[in-house]
C-alpha cells in the first residue's frame, strides 16, 4: 500500500471516527428532560399532531419569531409522525443534526482553507471541525430540544456557504446548468434557513465578506470579475453604513429606538454588556469553564456605563484594538483571511447579541458564529505550518490534545444534561445569584415535599429579579404548595402586595396551578379554594383588566371544571375584552353560552366564528371544534 493511500485511508477513518465519537459522547443526553421553552413551544405537539393535516396546522400555528419558523416546527411535527418518542426523540434528532452539522463544518473548513491556498493540510480543518463538534458550549443547544431551530438555521447557512464556494468554482464559466442548480440551491437553502430561524439572515453579509476577503471577486483563472467587484463593494458599503447607522442611533438618539419591554436594561446598556459577553463566549469556546455553563445567565452583571463595571472598558478597548489590528491585516492576503474569521464570529452574533431587546446571554447563540473561531485557529495553524515547515505535525498534535480536552468537558456536561435534577442543582451551583436557578431549586424541593425550603428559594428568586410582579411570587407559592402536597401557605397574605390594577402577570404559572388543580394533582388545595381566592381578590379589583388576557382564560377553564359556567362566562368576557378576536376566547364563549342556554349570545358568537372561518382565520383544530357546534 502506497504512503499516500495509507494517509488517505487514515484521514477517512478519522473523518468517520470523530463524528461517531461525538455520537457516543452525546448519547446519554437522550435521557435528558424537557426544559423551559420546550414546554411552551413543544408542549402542544403531542396533543395537536396526529396526522398530516394536524401536522400542517401545528406547523403554521407557531408564533415563535416574526416568521413563525415553520421549517423548524415542521421538523418537530414530522418527527412526531415518524418517530413519536417525545423528548428523547427530539434529542435523538438534535444529536444527529449536530453530527451532520459537524460534518458540514469540516467540509466548509476544508473548502475555505483550500480556497485560501492550504489544500494540503486536511487534518487541520478536520481537527478544528471536530473541536467545534465537541465543544461543551454547544451541549445546551444540542440537548435543548427547541434549539433545533438554531441548529437547523445553522445547517442551512452552512449549506449556503458550501454551495456558494462550489458555485464559485464553476461560475462564471461554461458549465451553466451546474451553476444554475447551485444558485437555485443557495436561494432555497437560504429561505429554508430563514424560516427555520430568522437569524439565518446573517449569512448574507458573511457571503459578502467571503467574496471580498477570501475569493477576491476572481474567476477560476485569477482575473477579477468587474460586476462582482461592484456588487461586493455595494454589499460592503451597505454593511458598513448599516453598522454605522445602528451605532449612531444607539449612541446619539437612543430615544428613536423602542424601550425594551420586560427587560431590566436599556438598549445602550445591552450593547455595552454584549461587548463583555462576546469575549466571554470566545473564552468559553477556547478554554471552557463548564462550571458556569448552562441555561441560566440572568445573573450576568449589566454594564451600565463604560466604567461600570470596569471590565466593560477593557472589553470595548479590546474590540477596538481587534478592529485596528484587522485594518492593518487587511493589507495582506493572509491577514484578510484572518479578518474574515473574526468577522464570521461577529457577524454571526449581529442579530442576537447587539441591539435587539433579547435576553443578554445564551450559549446557543454561538452555534453558528463559533465556527469563526475554529476557522481562525485552522488558518493560523496552516499559516504557521507553511512559514515554518515541520511545525504543522506538532501543532496538529496539540490541536488533537485540545480536542480531547474539549471532549472530556463536553462529556461531563452531557452527563449533567441527562438528568433533570442534576441539571437543576448544577445550575444553582454555577449561578447561585440567578433568579431562574433559584426557581428551579424551589420546584425541585417542592416536588419532594420540602415546602419551607422551596419557599425560601422562591423568595430569593423574587429578590433577585427586580421586574418580578409580587403577585407572580404568590401564585408561585401556591404552585409550590400544590407540588409539595401541602396546604396553601398563608392564604390571607396572598396577593396583598400586588399593585392596584394587576393581580398577577405570569400566565404560565397560573396555567400550571389550574392545570394541576383540574387534573387532581393538587390534593392539598381544592379547586374550590383556588376559585374562591381569585373571586375574593378580583372583587376588590373592579377593573376588568386586573389580569392579563390569558389569565382570565385560565380562570374560565377552572370555573368550567367546577361547573360555575356563569363565572366562567364572565371570565371569558373579560378575556375577550382584551383580545376580542381570539378564536380560543370565542370558542369558550360559545361553549358557555350553549351550556347556559343563552341562544341570542350563542348565535352572535357563532356568527362571528363562522365569519372568521370563511376568512380562513381558523386553524384545522379550531375548525374541527367549531364543527361540533354547527352539527
Amino acid at each position: 500500500m502506497s504512503k499516500v493511500l495509507l494517509q488517505r485511508l487514515l484521514f477517512l477513518s478519522a473523518a468517520i471516527l470523530f463524528p461517531l465519537l461525538a455520537a457516543w459522547l452525546y448519547s446519554p443526553g437522550i435521557e435528558g428532560p424537557r426544559l423551559l421553552d420546550d414546554r411552551s413551544s413543544l408542549g402542544a405537539l403531542n396533543r395537536s399532531v396526529a396526522d398530516l393535516s394536524t401536522a400542517i396546522d401545528y406547523t403554521l400555528a407557531d408564533r415563535s419569531g416574526p416568521l413563525g419558523r415553520p421549517v423548524s416546527v415542521a421538523s418537530f411535527a414530522l418527527e412526531k409522525l415518524l418517530l413519536d418518542r417525545g423528548a428523547a426523540g427530539h434529542k435523538q434528532v438534535n444529536i444527529v443534526l449536530h453530527l451532520v452539522n459537524g460534518g458540514l463544518v469540516i467540509w466548509l473548513l476544508v473548502l475555505l482553507l483550500s480556497r485560501a491556498g492550504y489544500e494540503r493540510c486536511r487534518w487541520t480543518p478536520l481537527l478544528c471541525g471536530t473541536a467545534w463538534l465537541l465543544s461543551p458550549l454547544y451541549v445546551s443547544t444540542v440537548l435543548y430540544s427547541v434549539q433545533r431551530m438554531a441548529m437547523l438555521a445553522c445547517f442551512f447557512m452552512l449549506l449556503v456557504l458550501i454551495q456558494y464556494l462550489y458555485l464559485r468554482r464553476y461560475w462564471p464559466g461554461p458549465l451553466r446548468w451546474r451553476a444554475g442548480m447551485l444558485m437555485a440551491g443557495i436561494v432555497l437553502t437560504f429561505l429554508a434557513g430563514l424560516f427555520a430561524k430568522e437569524n439565518a439572515v446573517v449569512v448574507l453579509p458573511i457571503l459578502v465578506l467571503l467574496e471580498v476577503l477570501l475569493l477576491e471577486c476572481r474567476d477560476a483563472e485569477g482575473k477579477r470579475i468587474p460586476w462582482l467587484v461592484s456588487a461586493s463593494r455595494i454589499g460592503l458599503a451597505a454593511l458598513v453604513l448599516g453598522s454605522l447607522l445602528v451605532l449612531s442611533v444607539l449612541w446619539l438618539v437612543p430615544e428613536w429606538l423602542p424601550a425594551p419591554v420586560d427587560r431590566p436594561f436599556t438598549l445602550q446598556q445591552r450593547a455595552l454588556t454584549e461587548t463583555r459577553i462576546l469575549w466571554d463566549y470566545l473564552g468559553q469556546l477556547a478554554r471552557p469553564d463548564v462550571s458556569r455553563m448552562g441555561l441560566y445567565h440572568d445573573d450576568w452583571e449589566l454594564s451600565t456605563g463604560f466604567l461600570r463595571p470596569i471590565s466593560t472598558l477593557w472589553a470595548v478597548l479590546a474590540w477596538c484594538l481587534l478592529g485596528l489590528v484587522s485594518l492593518v491585516l487587511l493589507r495582506w492576503r493572509q491577514g484578510r483571511y484572518l479578518v474574515f474569521a473574526a468577522a464570521f464570529f461577529l457577524l454571526g452574533h449581529s442579530v442576537e447579541s447587539t441591539i435587539l431587546p433579547l435576553e443578554l446571554y445564551f450559549e446557543h447563540r454561538n452555534y453558528f458564529p463559533g465556527i469563526g473561531l475554529f476557522l481562525g485557529i485552522a488558518l493560523l495553524l496552516s499559516m504557521a505550518g507553511r512559514k515554518w515547515p515541520g511545525t504543522l505535525p506538532p501543532l496538529q498534535a496539540w490541536l488533537a490534545v485540545w480536542v480531547v480536552l474539549l471532549s472530556l468537558k463536553t462529556s461531563s456536561q452531557v452527563q449533567i444534561w441527562s438528568n433533570v435534577h442534576l441539571l437543576r442543582l448544577n445550575h444553582l451551583a454555577g449561578h447561585p445569584e440567578s433568579a431562574r436557578a433559584n426557581l428551579d431549586m424551589a420546584s425541585e424541593l417542592a416536588s419532594f415535599g420540602e415546602l419551607d425550603a422551596a419557599l425560601k428559594y422562591s423568595r430569593k428568586a423574587y429578590e433577585l429579579n427586580p421586574l418580578e410582579h409580587p403577585g407572580d411570587r404568590d401564585l408561585r407559592s401556591m404552585v409550590l404548595a400544590c407540588m409539595a402536597q401541602q396546604p396553601m401557605p398563608d392564604e390571607g397574605g396572598l396577593f396583598l402586595e400586588s399593585p392596584l390594577g394587576l393581580l398577577f402577570r405570569s400566565v404560565p404559572t397560573a396555567e400550571m396551578l389550574i392545570s394541576r388543580v383540574i387534573r387532581g394533582n393538587c390534593e392539598s388545595i381544592p379547586a374550590e379554594q383556588v376559585s374562591s381566592l381569585f373571586q375574593n381578590r378580583l372583587r376588590t379589583m373592579l377593573d376588568g383588566r386586573a389580569l392579563p388576557a390569558e389569565g382570565y382564560a385560565a380562570l374560565a377553564i377552572l370555573e368550567n371544571h367546577l361547573e360555575n359556567y356563569e363565572l366562567a362566562l364572565a371570565y371569558t368576557e373579560a378575556y375577550l375584552d382584551q383580545s376580542p378576536r381570539s378564536v380560543k376566547g370565542l370558542l369558550m364563549k360559545l361553549q358557555f353560552t350553549s351550556l347556559l342556554q343563552m341562544p341570542v349570545e350563542r348565535e352572535l358568537v357563532m356568527q362571528k366564528l363562522l365569519d372568521m372561518r370563511s376568512q380562513g382565520l381558523l386553524s384545522y383544530t379550531e375548525r374541527e371544534t367549531l364543527a361540533l357546534y354547527t352539527q
Binding site: L25, S412, H421
Partner: protein
C-alpha cells in the same frame, strides 16, 4: 575507523529483538502474581476505575479517580480503566503484561537514545552499537526494576519514564542534526512544540516527567556541549547552564521563602525535613550500589528498617556519603572530556532522583524511584564494561558486558520468582528485611488472607493452626517493631478474629502508644480495619471503648478526616443519636469539603433522617466544590430519584 551512524540494520534489530524476548521470558512466570500495597486503593478498592467502558464519561471519571499526585495521573489511570474494560475486570495477567510491554518499549527507546548519544560523542560503529545495546540490556534485565514492572500501580512511573525517554530521544535526534548543519527552517519551533507536548502529556502520567525539562540541559552540557553548525557556541553553553541551574535556584528560593510550609508537610511523617535530606545522601549511594553491584538479598519492597540520619554524624556514614557525592561529582566533572558518560550518568541519576528523593515529604526508600534515574548509570556502566573488555583484549571486547548482562538476567529471574504469590512475596520480604515492621505485617496479613481464601477449607487442621500461630507471631513482631497504635490495633483485630480470650487486654497500652507516637498513615488506616471488625461483629469492643480510642487519636490529630469518618461509622454501629453523627460528619466536611467518602456518608445520613432539603443543598455545594467533576457519576447515581424518593 567507521563512525557510528544512525542507521539500524537487521542484525542490530535481531539482537535487540532477542534481548526483548529474553526479558519477556524472564518476567513471564510472574505475570499472574499478586496485586500489592497501593494497587488496592488505586485499583481494587477504587470503583471509579472499574468501568465497563460503554459510557464515554466513565473514562473521564476513571481517569480522574486516583488520589496520587497533584494532577491525579489521569493517563495512567485511563490505561488501568482500559485494562478493566477490555477484560471485564482486573485480570492480573493483563495488568502485568501491559506493564511488561511498557518496560520493553522503554528498553527499545533507551537503546535508540543511547545510540544517538553515542553517535554525538563520536563512538565508532562497533563500540557504539555494543554500548547502546549493553545499556538497554542492563536496564531491561536489571533486578532493581522488578518492583517497578511487577508492582502494577508503578505503571505510572513506567509511563513517565517512557515519556522522558521519548523526549530525550527526540531532542537528541534534532540535536544530532544541528551539530553540523544547524536547524532547517521551522525545526527549532517544531522541536519545542514536540517537547512541550511530550512534557504536557507526560505529567498527566506522573508528575516527574517535568524532569525532562531539566534533563535536556544536562544532555546539552554533557553530550552536545554547545556545538552548533560545526562550531562551539558559547551563548548556547550559557543558556544550557542557566537552564540547568534554574531548578536549583527555584528550590533554593522555596527553602528561603516557604521553609515553614515545607516543614509543615512533614507533620504525618516520623522524620523531619532535615533527616530526610541527610538520609537521602546515604540512600542514593545504596541505590547506586544496587545498580552497579546488585545484591538481591538486600533489595525489597519495603525499607522501613532503614536507620535514619539524625545529623551529619549520626550515623557517621551520612557525612561520608555527602562528602563522597561531592568528590565523585568533582571527579566526573574533571574527567568530562575523557569520560563524558560518567558525568552524564551521575547527573541523570541525581536529577532523576531530585523530585522523589529530595525535599518532598515522601517515604524514604522505594526501588521504583530508580526506574528513570538508572538510564544514565546503565549507559555509563555499559561503556565502562566495554572499555574494560577492550583494554583486556581477551576474546572479544563484549565479554565483560555480556557476563554482566547474563548475571543480571539470572538475578532478575531469581527475584521474579517470589512474585508468583502473595505469600511467597511477603515471605521473601521478611527474609530480606527481618527488621522491617511492615514486612512482618504484610506476611501476617498474607497468611490470614490465605486462611480466609476460598480453597482454605482443604488446609489440614494442624497446618492451619501452625499458620495462625505464624500470623500471630508476625503481627506481634510488627507491634513490637512499630510500637505504634497500628501495631496494637492490628494485633487486637487478629486476636479477636481468631477468638482468642485476651484481645481487649491488648488495647490497655493503646493510650501510651498514641500519646508517645506521631500518628502516621498506617495508624489512620488501621481504624478502617477496626471498623470492619466491629461491623462484622468479630470484635466485641464496647461502644464507649471504641469512642475512647478514636477520641484519643483525634486529640492528637484533630484534623484527620480518616479518623472522623471511621469514628462516625463505628458510632453508627451503636445507634448513636443522629445529631451526633451529623456533627462528626460536619466537622469532616469543614476540613475537606470535597471529600468523596465524607460527602457520601453525609448524604446518606441526611437521606436516612429525611432531611431532603439539606441533602439537596449539600449536593449543590458538592457540585460547586467538585470543579473537575470527579464525583459526577456518584452524584448522578444519588439523583436517580427512584432511590432517594423511596428513602
Amino acid at each position: 575507523m567507521v563512525k557510528l551512524t544512525l542507521e539500524i540494520d537487521k542484525k542490530l534489530l535481531t539482537i535487540l529483538g532477542f534481548l526483548l524476548l529474553l526479558t519477556l521470558i524472564i518476567y513471564l512466570p510472574a505475570l499472574s502474581g499478586p496485586l500489592v500495597f497501593d494497587d488496592h486503593p488505586a485499583l481494587t478498592t477504587n470503583p471509579a476505575v472499574q468501568i465497563g467502558g460503554t459510557i464515554f464519561d466513565e473514562w473521564r471519571t476513571a481517569a480522574l479517580s486516583s488520589e496520587s499526585g497533584p494532577l491525579r495521573r489521569p493517563i495512567s489511570m485511563a490505561t488501568f480503566a482500559a485494562n478493566h474494560a477490555a477484560a471485564g475486570g482486573f485480570k492480573l495477567e493483563q495488568l502485568k503484561a501491559v506493564n511488561l510491554f511498557i518496560h520493553l518499549l522503554c528498553g527499545a527507546v533507551l537503546f535508540q537514545l543511547s545510540h544517538f548519544i553515542l553517535a554525538a560523542l563520536g563512538y565508532n560503529l562497533k563500540s557504539g552499537r555494543a554500548v547502546a545495546l549493553g545499556a538497554a540490556a542492563i536496564w531491561l534485565l536489571h533486578p532493581l526494576h522488578v518492583t517497578t514492572v511487577l508492582y502494577t500501580v508503578q505503571r505510572m512511573a513506567q509511563l513517565s519514564t517512557l515519556a522522558v525517554l521519548v523526549g530525550l530521544m527526540l531532542f537528541s535526534r534534532y540535536r544530532l542534526r544541528w551539530l553540523e548543519r544547524g536547524p532547517a527552517t521551522g525545526e527549532l519551533p517544531a522541536a519545542a512544540l514536540w517537547l512541550s507536548l511530550i512534557t504536557y502529556i507526560g505529567v498527566y502520567c506522573k508528575e516527574n516527567v517535568a524532569l525532562l525539562l531539566w534533563l535536556i540541559p544536562v544532555l546539552e552540557i554533557t553530550v552536545f556541549r554547545g556545538r552548533w553548525r560545526g562550531v562551539s557556541q558559547p551563548r548556547l553553553q550559557i543558556i544550557s547552564w542557566v537552564a540547568a541551574l534554574t531548578p536549583l535556584v527555584l528550590v533554593g528560593a522555596l527553602f528561603l521563602f516557604s521553609y515553614d510550609f515545607l516543614v509543615s508537610s512533614y507533620a504525618e511523617r516520623n522524620f523531619t525535613l532535615e533527616q530526610r535530606l541527610l538520609s537521602q545522601s546515604r540512600i542514593l549511594w545504596q541505590y547506586l550500589s544496587w545498580l552497579v553491584l546488585p545484591d538481591v538479598g538486600s533489595m525489597g519492597f519495603l525499607h522501613d528498617d532503614l536507620i535514619l540520619s539524625r545529623s551529619l554524624f549520626s550515623p557517621l556514614t551520612t557525612a561520608l556519603a555527602i562528602i563522597s557525592w561531592l568528590m565523585i561529582l568533582v571527579a566526573a566533572w574533571a574527567a568530562r572530556e575523557r569520560s563524558p558518560l560518567l558525568l552524564l550518568g551521575l547527573l541523570v541519576f541525581i536529577v532523576g532522583h531530585s523530585i522523589e528523593s529530595g525535599f518532598l515529604a515522601l517515604e524514604m526508600v522505594y526501588e521504583h524511584r530508580n526506574y528513570l534515574p538508572s538510564i544514565g548509570v546503565c549507559l555509563g556502566l555499559s561503556a565502562l564494561l566495554y572499555w574494560l573488555g577492550d583494554q583486556a583484549k581477551v576474546l572479544s571486547s563484549n565479554v565483560p558486558l555480556l557476563i554482566f548482562v547474563l548475571s543480571l538476567a539470572g538475578l532478575t529471574a531469581l527475584r521474579v520468582q517470589p512474585w508468583t504469590s502473595e505469600l511467597a512475596l511477603s515471605t521473601a520480604m521478611v527474609d530480606n528485611h527481618p527488621e522491617s515492621a511492615r514486612s512482618h505485617y504484610n506476611l501476617a496479613y498474607a497468611i490470614t488472607r490465605a486462611l480466609q481464601h476460598e480453597g482454605s477449607s482443604d488446609i489440614r487442621a494442624e497446618t492451619r493452626e501452625e499458620l495462625e500461630t505464624m500470623a500471630e507471631e508476625h503481627f506481634r513482631e510488627y507491634a513490637v517493631l512499630e510500637s505504634s497504635p497500628s501495631g496494637l490495633i492490628n494485633l487486637y483485630v487478629f486476636a479477636s478474629r481468631q477468638k482468642q480470650d485476651y484481645p481487649e487486654r491488648l488495647l490497655d497500652k493503646l493510650p501510651q502508644s498514641i500519646e508517645g507516637h506521631r500518628l502516621q498513615a498506617s495508624d489512620f488506616n488501621v481504624t478502617i480495619l477496626l471498623f470492619e471488625c466491629l461491623q462484622r461483629k468479630e470484635c466485641s469492643l464496647p461502644g464507649e471503648r471504641v469512642e475512647a480510642v478514636f477520641d484519643l487519636m483525634l486529640r492528637q490529630n484533630p484534623n484527620s478526616v480518616t479518623l472522623l469518618v471511621q469514628k462516625y461509622r463505628s458510632l453508627k454501629l451503636n445507634d448513636e443519636p443522629a445529631a451526633r453523627l451529623l456533627y462528626i460528619l460536619d466537622r469532616a466536611r469543614q476540613l475537606q469539603p470535597g471529600n468523596y467518602s465524607v460527602n457520601g456518608f453525609y448524604l446518606q445520613e441526611l437521606a436516612e433522617q429525611a432531611k431532603l432539603a439539606q441533602a439537596f443543598e449539600m449536593l449543590v455545594d458538592w457540585l460547586r466544590i467538585d470543579v473537575k467533576r470527579r464525583d459526577l457519576a456518584r452524584i448522578k447515581r444519588t439523583l436517580a430519584f427512584d432511590t432517594i424518593s423511596a428513602e
